[in-house]
Symmetry: D3
Subunit: 238 residues, 6 copies
């Protein structure tokens, strides 16, 4: 039995509310249970310097937690003077995941900056961020299409992410903070709408894990992402 | 006629929603029209080093804006390596304003850290922050009383804040971003529930202002704060 | 009786010595009693980036204290890596105060950088800085007129600043460090030669202050600034 | 045909030279072809603050490249003021990988600091770092056993790492820089001597990869790590 | 003929005014011609951490220039975030020079912090700083003796410093900025009252210099320091 | 008798191995006994900004120690956020020393960046760095001549460096760490192939030193540099 009484392959309740930030070209508030992330997509006129003159655009991301998103207050990174290693890892992951489903040539010499700000954290903030970021990015592209800045959206596919773990010897889906703290293995999967793997990151927290356990987690993740993609579709259809 | 069609002494619609942050000892989401601030109060076991052994506690504050709280995306301060001068000014103001109504001896050797995170900004973020911070602080003290960490709340009075300005030659209350941008003079008033002045900050943006204009703005501010205090009372009674 | 035995409306002895820095376009050493500030005005060829092409110039300021300007040695800000919040507040205040009396279009695309370095601090360093900065700025503009870089000085008026406080229940003018430490309320006023208010900043250190006390302090400040402006006139005539 | 003419499952020539740093408790120079990493293990008297009093020790790592380890000179991170996101990711990975095979209770309240300094980089610097770090750590523990600071080495198993990729549609082992630059997918595997997975990180650089490709890469990695572990055994036996 | 029309072995006019900083335990304003340095000595209760428990004290120094001490305004180091390499070199030199004539055991577990702030710079700021620092340090020790914190001053000797150079083929003493800019070789000598060498730093700016030129400069420096020591004696006798 | 049993004028065994860094335009591994420095020379297309348009080039240097080059591990400067004062002093010294023997006009608008990375430190790292840097620079210029980027090498002379000290009352050459720690005086000499002095830096660690001792050390240094220059010639002839 999981601490949350969920079945091994059961997601937490997931909701996606669009257009929550008045000024952003795309935005949503995504909730994976008690994990709440506000995601915005901001259109910037110019791509990063190394792309100027190439005809290609860029999608990148920043990530932060409000100080009291967590059980214990976390020190603000603007006080410590730089983003932590963990923050930078997540930022790079979110950016890579989105770029895997965007046609950067079709976007042209623009940059989309995704901001993922965690209002409340109960495990899985990076996977909620990626899943919500797809929606904000979709809406940003629709905004551009609506203003004739693009003929067609450069989105090639959906992308979503989910965590898995080995907890009490069993592979489980979408760990909350309590379960994550006691899991022996923690893995994150970023998968496209058509089932392609974009990122697989599995880490043994205590004992190493086996190839079979990796396969089990991957199977759970594919099921979880399929449900998240369905929710994305429903959200942008709404 | 003001850009918002409000009367000169008319506040924007103000709402206060309590207990919005699951883990914080006190919290609220305060809205002054399209300005939305999430405020949390976090209890910390120890006061700052210079108060250890004195029997006194401390209340301090941090302030930040989400990058896309604004029309144009603002760079994250964790990227630039330090809080800006404006951020530090606001943080110091929020802390001073709250300490004016807290009995720090009664609090004892604890610190309350107030975090004001602006989700959306349309002018008046510092006044909304102070007004909401009082509610989060109130709830934090109630939380401590409920756990017998305090016999009685150390709050001595209400405190709230409002901006005024001289716009098109007339004193007006609670400027939004559009009005603030064109105002000749900008002033912020922090006032207690019993009408005492905690902070008066008036700045000429263009031409200097007169003593009479200062008096006019002060009169508007006193009326505005009285309404905000009534809303605080209603919120914590709810 | 004030600790310094001055009357409530009595300034400390004020002196202004011009042309103390051999290389600066304008400079003075201003003393408010034991508070000594060396102010220089440096002409820079270009305005800040956001003004380029607008035909307008800029006046800005930096402020620092020598480490042993104070009773206890203060850590050098170059060691701590960034100006403190207090330093930034003062810098912004000095810059705003001067810009209120400068015709930036007449100045044209130049920048004047004011440096206020406190050699010795006994309260009122920001008010001495502003009052002295006007003299250094005046001399810098005269230097430019003398070299035909300007037809006429872009200075529109005098500007000076003074502190007031509520000490032992009474409004008093120009607090020194000892009096400032025990005052309940501390206020700074920046006022032009023609009596317009540029900045009003009043802060309750302990109990809130009343509207009447604010009016009393404002009256003292107007008298004090009138005397400071007379001293500025005398200095630049000398 | 691979650019290096190696078979898909063929490692580059690997060598491990021990005791290359006169002062370090353990050290080696490990070469994966033209990738050369100098690894040292330094014994520190105290564990990090959060472990004091727990009886447990810690193993952590730092990673850097000499500026001209690369084709183009890379800016020194001490000039830019902080380790990059990539550097921090690698440092955390090396530390986690080693801790997976160390009995931290047996180590007791000490810290071993691993330094991985890349003298020359031709792809696979993080996998060479982990593989060499095991040898330096082994020798550090032997040094401690030799001085009766430990009864028995706290090493529970070997650990080594290798990269795989999908290049020209085929899974290949141990990519050099040229092959890495053109690979569609890049994956790193950290595996113990007994075949347990410690870390799996697969990233699609262009098109997503399939589950089958992940399985293929894992099979190659297991074979590669087995050879690396044999080389570690041979090195420490020498 | 030197640009300043001085003889090769002629110092600029040197003056030393003591007790210029109201709060410092020792201070002076030293002038080497148009180079003006304000030096303070601050007594600190504790030595640096590495000396605690040894019974020994420490003397250290910090150095800075006011932004407009120079012909062109120099950026404030607190803005750039750290002291420059040149600043750190000078700080270390001043500290070493003073410690060479202080009995640190006799001082006991205290630290004296010397601050050298250059008000105006016309070459030779480091040599003026060292020469003035000896006076401030002397007065600080006298202050301590006067309060029975020391039985006897821990000063063992005088120390002073002077620059020399090879200019237009000739060895010259005490270069001002104009002469320094055109000199081929620049050297600084720190010498005690009894003629011992504490520091010799000679640098070829263009062509290398010869052993004979080094000997010539050393002879000039010994004569110059003897005159500076006489001025120190006269100053502290005054 | 010296701790190393060397004669007073005896260098440690010195070796220079060229072309140790696969990607650098010039490189060597230089050993002064147990002090080992890896030096690379990197050609950069542009000189620093202040030389653009002048037709002149530049040679500059960076210096670092691997953390465990030393007996006790040293903290990485990328962790502390900036190069230390000592590091900056050495970097500036290496750059100045090389520029003294390079015709910067003949080099043209290019920059050569020298990186000196100390793999193992046993005293004299700065002198080994300068001596090795000449070889790396020589090879970089040959590389450019070989590609017709230069008609002729801009090197005008050899340059090398050696330390001396007063140890147990006697002048000695090329101190190792043990001897350096107990020496009363420490001096570094940078001398050209034709015997010109580029830099003389002598520092009393304890008691001051005499003019005679300075002359003695200079004589030793000249002999030592002559041997180092012979080794440079042999290395580049090899």
């Amino acid at each position: 039995m999981r601490p949350s009484r969920r079945a091994p392959d059961e997601l937490r309740p997931v909701s996606i509310e669009r257009a929550v930030a008045r000024y952003a070209e795309g935005s949503c508030l995504i909730k994976f249970g008690e994990t709440h992330v506000l995601v915005t997509a901001s259109l910037e006129d110019k791509p990063p310097p190394w792309l100027r003159g190439t005809g290609k655009g860029w999608v990148t991301a920043e990530y932060a937690m409000l100080p009291r998103a967590t059980h214990e207050r976390t020190r603000r990174e603007s006080s410590s003077g730089k983003p932590s290693g963990r923050t930078q890892e997540i930022q790079r992951l979110v950016g890579r995941s989105l770029r895997a489903v965007v046609d950067l040539v079709r976007l042209g010499e623009k940059q989309i900056m995704i901001d993922c700000d965690v209002l409340q954290a109960d495990g899985g903030t990076r996977t909620a961020s990626i899943t919500g970021a797809w929606v904000a990015l979709h809406d940003c592209f629709q905004w551009m299409v609506g203003r004739n800045m693009l003929n067609v959206s450069p989105l090639k596919d959906h992308v979503a992410a989910i965590s898995c773990g080995i907890s009490r010897g069993q592979a489980v889906l979408d760990l909350d903070y309590a379960e994550d703290s006691e899991a022996q293995t923690d893995a994150n999967f970023v998968i496209t709408g058509s089932g392609g793997l974009v990122e697989v990151q599995g880490t043994a927290e205590g004992a190493p894990f086996s190839e079979d356990q990796l396969i089990d987690m991957l199977a759970l993740a594919k099921g979880g992402v399929a449900k998240l993609v369905a929710l994305q579709k429903q959200a942008v259809a709404g």
